[in-house]
Amino acid sequence: MTTTSASSSLKPSGQRVPYRPPTRSRDRARAAFNSRILTWLAIGIFLFLYLPIIVLVIYSFSGARNVGVWAGFSTRWYAELLGDRALIAAFRVSLWVAVWSTLIATVLGTLAALALERYRFFGRLTFDTALYLPIIIPDIVMALSTLLFFVTFAVPLSRYTILVTHVAFNIAFVAVVVRARLAEMDSSLEEAAADLGANAWTAFRRVTLPILMPGIVSGALLAFTLSLDDFVITFFVAGPGSTTLPVRVYSMIKFGVTPEVNAISTLMLAGSTVLVVISLLLQRR
């Protein structure tokens, strides 16, 4: 191969592409063209992502009975929501599951993060991998396997089975977020606390926990959002009388999409957005 490369440099000069020095104006024109393309690409992607949501939000304020028809601004569907007993009940189940699963998963996830980041123990790597599985495996697999588990052990499906399942996948998300914070934390801070006379518990309470707190809170907000929005897994493990909001919305759609669905979706969207923004702001601290 070396011979060919050597011969290529010996080609008559007429076969070479003549060299043109780059001119300043040509470079500038190309840069301007590139930046214009990039701008339009970015706008296109944002439209693709958010246009459906914008449409949904706009039509939730339409007075018309049919979706996709604009009949003047109205909060009629929001009022109708408040009167929908089944929907309110589903919302309360969702809230109950989200609050409790968040609390439990935050405590367990934080402890798991501490164990993995601070201690060396037998089976640590296995535990590490197993903990993150719920993030990676498809929802449908998680849903089927937990359903199978409950059926095998004859556990009656109820809001408690939803709670257990939500805790299971939320631990992973809390652990990831808390661990990132913990990895940034200088471990000599804990030694400094001990050096100044703090026992292990006091050092944790006065030093480690306050430093981890933004990570813990943002992990908890993430868990809360995930729990509130989850449909696939919940759909499988929900029992009669324990319908959550996303499951209820799904069953409403089966009878045709009404603007009421638009309204409830807009509210959920607003709630989730607020939580995610708070979570991101806390992680930045």
């Binding site: 801070l189 606390a193 001990a194 100044l196 006379g197 006091t202 050092a203 306050p210």
Partner: protein, 401 residues
């Protein structure tokens, strides 16, 4: 075990798996002393400090603090405090809260805490920074907060783990002096770990030099510089020349043994308690600044191109004016002087002094430092010229490998 030792380590060994970090270390640190542990990275100095603090447990041996054995006592119950290399200030607390932390742990009453925190910040000259967060301070200020946070607890011993390592050279020099002043003000025993021998020399009452887990020598800065016990210490502290030699005579009129250098040149050398036998290979160590260079041959005092005034040169050489002096004869008038022929190979002017590389008769090579007093007094030596190389026998020390 005597009470006058603030910290005592007896035969302390620390192993990490198969690696021996600290090997049978025995060390006594006196009350109120500024003691430095120095050595290259990985020599075991930080591990030793961490064992005194209680962050590591010795594999073997005993540690006493204030006369009390401390095995099994966790770090938070030991009467010592540490200034960490990266300061380890609590980022979520203010400076005042950081300094108050140790006192709160000791359950000191709130008004006392307030007063002692103010005093501690006064000591490190940062009283106006009390309400700042650590990240709003410069590196030097953070370092002082770390010092105040440790000292406010009035520990029996303050441990410092390369606390000046992250500061720039000028600030480091200033902090060295300040640390030394603070130490003599508070009178607390300091154990200071560093790899910087100059820093240790500047501040310490005594220095312990470690290499590969073994304590090589303990002594005052003067002792470890003037009388290093082995080649490692001589090399690690300051700059030196090593000359291979063999023992040629054990007894001489001048009370110094005589050794033969490369090429058979015989010179007197000082022996600090080493057991010498005739023919034994040894190493001579001579500090570059202890070697002097003189022009060769007869020096006419009045015409000498030394750059000196004739009276001045005559005074130095002990000659009577007017007159000529044979340099070698003059130098050898002092029986303990070693005078050898040499050729100047290189000269580097570095401001405070000039460094020469000299090839000795017999083929050995030496680095020589001559202080520059000012152009009028400096001997103008040319590269390639023949010179007399002189040192006093007491400055050439015999080391056993």
């Amino acid at each position: 075990m005597t009470d006058s030792f603030r910290v005592e380590l007896l035969d302390v060994t620390k192993r990490f798996g198969d690696a021996v970090a600290v090997d049978a270390l025995t060390l006594q640190v006196r009350d109120g002393e500024f003691f430095s542990l120095i050595g290259p990275s990985g020599c075991g100095k930080t591990t030793t400090l961490r064992m005194i603090a209680g962050f590591e447990q010795p594999t073997d041996g005993r540690i006493f603090i204030g006369g009390q054995p401390v095995e099994g006592i966790p770090a938070h119950q030991r009467p010592v405090n540490t200034v960490f290399q990266n300061y380890a200030l609590f980022p979520h607390m203010t400076v005042a809260q950081n300094v108050a932390f140790g006192l709160e742990m000791q359950k000191v009453a709130a008004p006392d805490i307030k007063q002692r925190v103010a005093e501690a910040l006064e000591l490190v000259r940062l009283p106006q920074m009390a309400e700042r967060k650590p990240r709003q301070l410069s590196g030097g200020q953070q370092q002082r907060v770390a010092l105040a946070r440790a000292l406010v607890n009035r520990p029996q011993v303050l441990l410092l783990d390369e606390p000046l390592g992250a500061l720039d050279l000028k600030l480091r020099r200033a902090m060295q002096i300040e640390l030394k002043h603070i130490q003599s003000d508070v009178g607390i025993t300091f154990i200071y770990v560093t790899h910087d021998q100059e820093e240790a020399m500047t501040m310490s009452d005594r220095i312990g030099i470690m290499n590969e887990g073994i304590l090589q020598q303990v002594g005052s800065p003067h002792e470890v510089y003037e009388k290093p016990v082995n080649r490692f210490v001589a090399d690690f502290i300051g700059e030196t020349n090593f000359l291979p030699a063999t023992v040629a005579r054990l007894e001489t009129e001048e009370d110094y043994p005589m050794v033969a250098l490369q090429g058979g040149v015989k010179v007197l050398a000082a022996n600090e308690g080493h057991d010498l036998q005739l023919g034994r290979p040894v190493t001579l160590t001579i500090r570059p600044e202890r070697i002097n260079l003189y022009p060769q041959g007869e020096v006419d005092v009045l015409k000498a191109e030394s750059g000196l005034e004739a009276e001045e040169l005559a005074r130095i050489l002990g000659a009577k004016l007017p007159g000529a002096v044979d340099m070698k004869e003059f130098l050898l008038a002092e029986p303990e002087n070693v005078v050898l022929d040499g050729v100047l190979e290189e000269a580097f002017y570095i401001g405070t002094d000039t460094r020469f590389r000299v090839m000795l008769e017999g083929g050995a090579s030496l680095v020589v430092r001559q202080q520059n007093y000012g152009s009028r007094y400096d001997m103008p030596f040319d590269v390639g010229s023949h010179v007399y190389v002189q040192w006093a026998a007491e400055n050439a020390q015999i080391l056993i490998e």
